[in-house]
């Protein structure tokens, strides 16, 4: 049913959508904080701190509204070194994706670690954020993290 001799037609195709997205009351506070170089988490009744600020505790389903400041430093919980960044990656030189537990938090935040060599990285290393000079109230208001010297 498929004729291998046919000259297959193909064409480049781009799919774009522009959405307007609300971040809601809890995440809005987190993003406002980032634009002022502060990192906010949320604290549960059991004193567990979620950072970045979570709207609910996935274990207890408790709605989280108490905002607490964490970080700005943190600890690497896991990392993956990207030696050759792919086209969609934000950083164009080698970097790591990392799960970072910010000081004072009980959960980790996904972000990037750069300005280091792969051999410098290990689980438990301390990191600090490098802030964007042009904040837009987004997770990218932190450019990436660097190892604490």
């Amino acid at each position: 049913m498929n004729d291998s001799k046919i000259n297959l037609l193909e064409a480049p195709f781009e799919l774009s959508y522009k959405y307007k997205r609300s971040s809601g009351p809890v995440m809005s506070k987190f993003f406002e904080g980032l634009s002022q170089k502060k990192i906010f988490g949320t604290k549960s009744k059991a004193q567990k701190v979620f950072a970045p600020a979570a709207e609910y505790d996935p274990d207890t389903r408790e709605a989280l509204t108490e905002i607490v400041e964490v970080g700005p430093g943190g600890t690497i919980e896991s990392w993956s070194w990207v030696n050759s960044p792919r086209s969609h990656h934000l950083l164009k030189t080698p970097f790591a994706f990392a799960l970072i537990k910010l000081d004072g938090a009980d959960t980790a935040m996904l972000h990037m670690v750069s300005d280091c060599d792969e051999s410098d990285l290990s689980i438990g290393k301390k990191v600090l954020p490098v802030w964007s000079e042009n904040p837009t109230e987004a997770i990218t208001d932190i450019n990436y993290f660097i190892l604490e010297s």
């Binding site: 046919i6 979570a54 996935p58 896991s78 969609h88 959960t107 980790a108 792969e118 997770i139």
Partner: protein, 351 residues
């Protein structure tokens, strides 16, 4: 409630680029194959359910177009999941257990070659905290691998052995995409994509389709002498808050072990929807399968049709139980980053 059996399964040869085939042309041959094997037609099917994701190939409503591969006159009862077709199987099984149908056709199809799978998977993540950082599927999987290695739950050698074994097993799988033997030296020389994962630790971009027929206990023996019973099926999902999960374990797999009472079953065969090499030893240990032949098809490392590979794990387990005349098989399907959502299926051939 009625027991449900898998009675037939067919898989398209997995292709690196199925450009010459639209979704209809991919799906129709496998549906015809499974019908012909059983000597039935769509008229014998009470419910049809498919799994696919239009964003993979960038064709709006490809899942609707795909339905053109199925006979729809007279009109049929039909549904679709924007998930792996293993979840289409789950929906179909519920339909039969509810008494709404006695038979079901399940199919899945995926074409990852036209798009950039890394970008697409990034955009399916949390749009506030995760997507804007563009983490790709390999890097996310690597974060879990790193933790498993650091906690010595798995080893680098186990990852390498998994890759070598997958390629060796692929030699027996006519539909596998990657069948070249990989030596230890070749593996060690392969470059790291996202450490600790090398290219060989990751699944190939794959296009394909698969179809399965299931039936109630009333109908199963009309279709085949070898029904394989779905003795248990369980799935659950963890939080989408990646940083709040303990990636060194899997509460959803633990749920399945408890809910399906798997502890004391001696499995003859296992097929796991493990897209990355580290996931194989991790899940084998969690599921107590270290001595059970696992992924004899080669698994997703030798061909990984998105939205289909989970159904394929169930289909391959079914085929093993039929051909080996063995009794107990376990199949696994997964979805989301770092094995967020897991389904476990216990298949059994009654003597």
């Amino acid at each position: 409630m009625k027991k449900v059996a898998v009675v037939g399964y067919a898989q398209h040869k997995i292709l690196p680029n199925a450009g010459a085939l639209n979704e209809v042309e991919l799906i129709m041959p496998v549906v015809h194959k499974v019908f012909n094997d059983l000597g039935i037609s769509q008229d014998d099917i009470g419910f049809t359910c498919s799994g696919s994701c239009d964003y993979l190939q960038g064709a709006a409503f490809a899942f609707v177009e795909g339905l053109s591969a199925i006979q729809t006159s007279p009109p049929i009862k039909e549904s679709h999941v924007e998930m792996d077709a293993a979840w289409a199987l789950y929906e179909s099984m519920l339909k039969i257990k509810m008494g709404d149908a006695d038979t079901a056709l399940i199919y899945g199809f995926g074409k990852s070659s036209p798009g950039n799978l890394d970008s697409i998977i990034s955009l399916q993540m949390d749009p506030y905290y995760i997507s804007p950082l563009w983490p790709d599927r390999v890097s996310l999987a690597a974060l879990q691998a790193q933790i498993l290695l650091q906690q010595k739950i798995i080893t680098h050698d186990e990852m390498m052995a998994t890759v070598i074994e997958a390629r060796n097993n692929a030699a027996n799988n006519p539909n596998a995409l990657l069948t070249d033997h990989v030596s230890e030296d070749l593996y060690q020389a392969d470059s790291l994509i996202s450490s600790p994962l090398r290219g060989f630790d990751c699944p190939p971009i794959s296009d394909g389709a698969s179809a399965m027929v299931i039936a109630s206990e009333d109908k199963a023996f009309e279709f085949t002498d070898n029904p394989i019973w779905i003795e248990g099926i369980d799935h659950s999902i963890e939080s989408s808050n990646l940083g709040s999960r303990d990636l060194a374990t899997s509460p959803t797999i633990q749920n399945a072990i408890t809910n399906l009472n798997l502890k004391n079953i001696n499995f003859d065969v296992a097929e796991l929807h493990t897209q990355f090499s580290h996931e194989v030893p991790f899940l084998r240990k969690l599921l107590n399968l270290t001595n059970v032949p696992t992924n004899l098809s080669g698994g997703p490392l030798v061909g990984n049709v998105m939205m289909c590979a989970g159904l394929d794990a169930i289909g391959k387990t079914f085929q093993s139980l039929v051909s080996d005349q063995s009794d107990h098989g376990i199949a696994h399907a997964s979805s989301g980053p770092c094995l967020q959502h897991n389904m476990v299926v216990h298949l059994e051939r009654h003597k």
